[in-house]
C-alpha cells in the first residue's frame, strides 16, 4: 500500500515538474549551504586537532599576550620577553626546555631577497618536537651548530633553495640542511629556522624569546601532568620577572580554545545556512498549499470513492517529503562539491591556506532524514487541510 502511495505521490510531482524542481531547489540550496559549511568546519577542526597531536598535548608554552591568528603562530605573542630558562629545567617532570625567537631579518639568496620570517630555535627543541618539525629532506638542526638552517616548504620554494644551498641572513652565511614537511600552519611553511643563539647574536638580543616551549614527560605522574607543571611554571616566571605579563598555557588548553573558536564560527555560519533551509521549507509549504487548492476537486472525488482522511494526508505528506528528500540528496552532493571546490580554490586567493573537507556519513544521513522530515513537516498543514475537506464541498469546488 505504501508503495502505491509513493507511486501516486511521485506521479503528482512529475505532473508539475517545473514547480516541483523549483521547490526542490529551495531545499537544495539550504542543504548545500549547511553541508558545505559543516564539512569545512569539521575539516578545520580535524586539521587543528592533527596539528596539536603532532605537537603533543604534553607541552607548556610561555608567550607574550595578544596572539592574533589561528594556527601554531597563535602561540606567538605580540612582544618578545627576557627570561632565564635554567630554573625551569629543574621542575620535576620537565623533559626539555627551549626558546624560539621570531624576527624578520634581511635575507638574500642569490637574486631573491627580502625581509622574511625567521625562527631562531634551540636545536634541542627542534629535535624534541621532531614529530612536528619533521624534515622531509635532509635533517633537523643539530646542537652546537651555528650557521645552518632548516626551511619551511613554501619559503624554500620562494627562495629557490634546497638542501646544501647557501644563503645570507643580514651578514652571516647559512647552509640549508633540511626542508620541513608541509604543515597546515602557514607560519611553519614560511619559516626559516636557524639556531636561536645565532639569531639572538645577529639581532643583539641575548636571552630574548618570542616563545618558550617546555616538553613534559609523556605520561605525567600524579602532580606532574602538563597542567600542574604549567601552574608551577607560571609561578616561577612571575617570580622571576616580578610581574605577571606572560601567558603560560598547555597545548591541551590551546586546543580547547581553538576548537571553541572554530565551533562558534561554525555555529554562526551553520545558523545562517539553517535559515536558508527554513526558507526552503516555507517554499515546500507554499507549493503544497497550492497543490491542495488545485486538487480540491480531486480530493473530493477520492473521498467519494472511499478515501479516508489518512489516505489523503499520506498522499500529500509523501509528496512534500519527497521534495524534501530529493532536495536533501542533491543538496548534500552540491554541498560537498562546494566544500571541495573551496578547499582547492582557497589557496589561490589566500596563499598558504590549507583547508580540509571533513566528510562524515553520520552528518549526511542526518541531513537526509532531516530534509525528508522538513519536507513532510512543511507539507503537514496543507495535507491536514486537504484531509479535513468535507467531500461535498471539495466536489463542488470550481
Amino acid at each position: 500500500m505504501l508503495l502505491d502511495n509513493i507511486r501516486l505521490s511521485v506521479r503528482n510531482l512529475r505532473h508539475r515538474p517545473k514547480r516541483s524542481w523549483l521547490t526542490i531547489l529551495g531545499i537544495l540550496i539550504g542543504v548545500a549551504a549547511v553541508i558545505a559549511l559543516v564539512s569545512l568546519g569539521q575539516g578545520m577542526q580535524r586539521s587543528i586537532t592533527q596539528e596539536f597531536e603532532a605537537f603533543g598535548y604534553n607541552v607548556v608554552m610561555i608567550a607574550g599576550h595578544g596572539g592574533h591568528h589561528l594556527g601554531m603562530g597563535a602561540m606567538l605573542g605580540t612582544y618578545d620577553f627576557q627570561l632565564d630558562l635554567a630554573p625551569l629545567q629543574k621542575i620535576s617532570g620537565v623533559e626539555a626546555v627551549g626558546g624560539v625567537l621570531v624576527k624578520t631579518p634581511y635575507i638574500s639568496a642569490g637574486r631573491r631577497e627580502g625581509y622574511l620570517l625567521t625562527w631562531g630555535m634551540a636545536p634541542e627543541l627542534m629535535q624534541a618536537f621532531g614529530n612536528y618539525y619533521k624534515p622531509e629532506l635532509g635533517r633537523a638542526l643539530n646542537p652546537g651548530e651555528t650557521q645552518t638552517a632548516v626551511l619551511g616548504s613554501n619559503v624554500a620554494q620562494d627562495l629557490g633553495l634546497s638542501v646544501g644551498d647557501k644563503f645570507v641572513i643580514e651578514t652571516l652565511e647559512f647552509e640549508v640542511v633540511g626542508l620541513l614537511e608541509r604543515r597546515a600552519d602557514p607560519d611553519v611553511n614560511y619559516a626559516i629556522m636557524v639556531p636561536i643563539a645565532t639569531l639572538q647574536e645577529l639581532v643583539g638580543e641575548r636571552n630574548r624569546f618570542s616563545l618558550v616551549m617546555i616538553r613534559t614527560a609523556q605520561h605525567g605522574h600524579a602532580g606532574h601532568d602538563a597542567a600542574s607543571i604549567a601552574k608551577e611554571v607560571r609561578r616561577m616566571v612571575t617570580e622571576q620577572r616580578g610581574k605577571d605579563d606572560l601567558n603560560v598555557h598547555t597545548t591541551g588548553e590551546m586546543l580547547d580554545l581553538m576548537q571553541n573558536l572554530v565551533g562558534i564560527l561554525q555555529a554562526a555560519l551553520g545558523g545562517i545556512a539553517a535559515i536558508s533551509l527554513l526558507v526552503g521549507g516555507v517554499g515546500v509549504m507554499n507549493t503544497m498549499y497550492t497543490a491542495v487548492l488545485e486538487r480540491t476537486r480531486e480530493i473530493g472525488v477520492m473521498k467519494a470513492v472511499g478515501a479516508r482522511r489518512r489516505h489523503i494526508l499520506w498522499l500529500f505528506l509523501l509528496e512534500s517529503g519527497f521534495m524534501g528528500l530529493i532536495g536533501g540528496v542533491l543538496g548534500a552532493l552540491t554541498g560537498l562539491l562546494i566544500a571541495v571546490g573551496i578547499k582547492f580554490s582557497a589557496p589561490l586567493f589566500i596563499s598558504g591556506t590549507q583547508l580540509e573537507v571533513g566528510f562524515s556519513p553520520g552528518l549526511m544521513l542526518g541531513v537526509l532524514s532531516f530534509s525528508f522530515v522538513l519536507g513532510a513537516l512543511s507539507g503537514f498543514f496543507p495535507a491536514r487541510d486537504a484531509a479535513k475537506l468535507p467531500p461535498v464541498e471539495a466536489l463542488r469546488y470550481e
Binding site: 477520492m302 472511499g306 467531500p391 461535498v392
Partner: protein, 235 residues
C-alpha cells in the same frame, strides 16, 4: 435499501441560509432503478449526496440497510461509500494524472485490495464497459463517452449495491448518452440499485420509478410499468 425520513438540508450562507431540502421522505429498495427529476436548484444533487453518504442531513434520518448513518464519523462514512456505493458524475471527475486503469483501481486501493487483485479487477471492469483497448489512456486522451464509461467502471470497482448517477449524460451527445443509459440498465438487470438524476425524460424512461422534486420537497412519484402503461401515484 436506503431510507430518507423527513430529511432537511440547510446551507448556512452568512445572514441568510438556503433550504435545499425541506422534509423529504424517500425509500429506495434493493434492485430498483429510480430516476430523480426536477428543475434546476430543486435539490436533486443535495438529495444524491445524502443518499450516497457524502453528506449528512441538517435534520431528519438517513438509513442505509437499516443503519442510521447520521451518527457515523467521516472515516466510517468514507468506508461505507467505498464499499456500498458507486458514484457517477456529470463532469466524469476522473483523476487526470492517472490512467483509465488506475482510475478504476482507486476505490480498490482505498479499501486495501492488494495490487494484483486490483489490476485484474480493473481490467475486467474496463472490458465490461467496452474499453479493453483504452486501459492505459489518460482521461485527456479519451472521448466524453469513454470517460463516463471509465467512471462507471470505477463506480463498480468494489461491487457496490447502489450506483448513484448525477446527470451522467448531461455532458454527452445523445448517442454516447444512450450507450451510458443502456449500461446502467444492464447493471440494473444484474441486480444493482440505480439512482439516476436527469433532466431528460427519455433518460428517465429507463427507470421503473420517477421521483419528481421541487423546492426541496417531493412533488410526485411515477411508476413506469415496464409492460407499458404508466401508473401515477400522485401526492
Amino acid at each position: 435499501m436506503i431510507q430518507l425520513k423527513n430529511a432537511h438540508k440547510i446551507y448556512p450562507m452568512g445572514e441568510i441560509s438556503v433550504q435545499a431540502l425541506r422534509g423529504l421522505d424517500l425509500t429506495i429498495k434493493p434492485g430498483e432503478f429510480v430516476a430523480i427529476m426536477g428543475p434546476s436548484g430543486s435539490g436533486k444533487s443535495t438529495l444524491m449526496h445524502l443518499l450516497g453518504c457524502l453528506d449528512l442531513p441538517s435534520d431528519g434520518l438517513v438509513q442505509l440497510d437499516g443503519q442510521d448513518v447520521t451518527k457515523l464519523d467521516e472515516d466510517t462514512l468514507a468506508q461505507i461509500r467505498g464499499k456500498k456505493i458507486g458514484f457517477v458524475f456529470q463532469t466524469f471527475n476522473l483523476i487526470p494524472t492517472l490512467t483509465a486503469q488506475e482510475n478504476v483501481e482507486l476505490p480498490l486501493f482505498f479499501q486495501g485490495v492488494p495490487r494484483r487483485e486490483r489490476s485484474a479487477r480493473s481490467v475486467e471492469l474496463l472490458r465490461k464497459v467496452g474499453l479493453n483497448d483504452r486501459i492505459h489512456h489518460k482521461p485527456a486522451q479519451l472521448s466524453g463517452g469513454e470517460r463516463q464509461r471509465v467512471a462507471i467502471a470505477r463506480a463498480l470497482a468494489n461491487d457496490p449495491e447502489i450506483i448513484l448517477a448525477d446527470e451522467p449524460t448531461g455532458n454527452l451527445d445523445s448517442e454516447s448518452g444512450e450507450a451510458i443509459l443502456k449500461l446502467l440498465e444492464q447493471l440494473n438487470r444484474e441486480s444493482k440499485t440505480i439512482i439516476l438524476v436527469t433532466h431528460n425524460p427519455e433518460a428517465a424512461a429507463y427507470a421503473h420509478r420517477i421521483v419528481r422534486i421541487k423546492d426541496g420537497r417531493l412533488l410526485e412519484e411515477v411508476f413506469n410499468n415496464t409492460n407499458k402503461g404508466v401508473a401515477y401515484a400522485a401526492r
